[in-house]
């Protein structure tokens, strides 16, 4: 019997099984690792996205921006008379299908002690982050400094119409 013939297969087989498992693990790690890395690289900051969406609250007359007697829109100046739930619903409203994949806001105009919610905002859930905007608000005497505090929730679950009303109450 030669040396080759007496070669111990079970011992080496065990080694190869380990090697195959490690190789498979490395391949999987590489595939998922690159995928995750790419996802992270292209991710846009949620704060930036929310900030850009929130620009409309103070920027356009369809939201809360003040429009003067000559119909000139004053960006950055809020008309407190417009600061209502009805106006917010016309300014930013989620279609139910996609409501849970985007941003939901709670707007607080500090000086007015008023709070508004976008339609899929969940009062009992925690906010993901907060944006604070220094704004001017229109008063009978002219303009006054105030703070618009915007509490942001990201990826909130879809709600039914009944629940939505309940959340706002």
């Amino acid at each position: 019997m030669s040396d080759d013939d007496s070669f111990l297969i079970p011992q080496e087989m065990f080694f190869y099984i380990i090697v195959v498992i490690i190789f498979a693990g490395m391949v999987l790690f590489l595939a998922f690792g690159i995928g995750t890395f790419k996802g992270r690289v292209v991710q846009t900051s949620p704060q930036l996205q929310a900030e850009l969406i929130a620009l409309r609250f103070t920027g356009i007359p369809e939201c809360f921006a003040y429009k003067d007697e000559r119909s000139i829109v004053r960006s950055g100046i809020i008309d407190p008379q417009k600061f209502s739930q009805d106006v917010l619903d016309r300014c930013y409203y989620h279609f139910r299908k996609e409501g849970f994949t985007s941003f939901n806001f709670r707007l607080q105009l500090q000086g007015e002690n008023k709070e508004l919610f976008t339609n899929n905002y969940k009062i009992n859930d925690r906010d993901d982050f907060t944006l604070v905007k220094e704004i001017l608000k229109r008063t009978t005497q002219g303009f006054e400094k105030d703070l618009l505090i915007i509490f942001v929730q990201e990826r909130v679950e879809r709600t039914t119409d009944g629940k939505k009303e309940e959340l706002r109450a």
């Binding site: 595939a31 996205q49 969406i53 620009l55 356009i60 279609f95």
Partner: protein, 133 residues
Amino acid sequence: MVTARQFFYLSQVLAVFVFGVVALSIAQAHAKSDFVLKTNIADEIKMMVDTLVAVPGEALVKVPYNTTDYSLLLTSENIAIFKKGENKEQWTIRPFFLPEGYHAQGSSVDLGRVCLEKKGKSITLRRCLEDER
């Protein structure tokens, strides 16, 4: 005749070779994938729409990517980026929410440089004119 020992040495070489090929093909598939570019274009346009909505009056912005290889479809609900022949599941879609009365529209197929224009309450995706490039 190949002995058992030689067989195992050969299988060692083969295993390394197979691993190399698989690893390279994974890396190549990721490198060839246009996921990053499609995601960047879609996110960029979504944020541009959000910004344009917040601007009172008229505005024009140029999308800072060459979109020649892609089709873009802008509606009042979302922006979709895809390549010819791709299934809808492969499209990159980013939804946005416009204020009441606003609408967005436009499409681009192999147009190269595209612009977003806001006029009144309308946002349009179109090819950039010569003096806008």
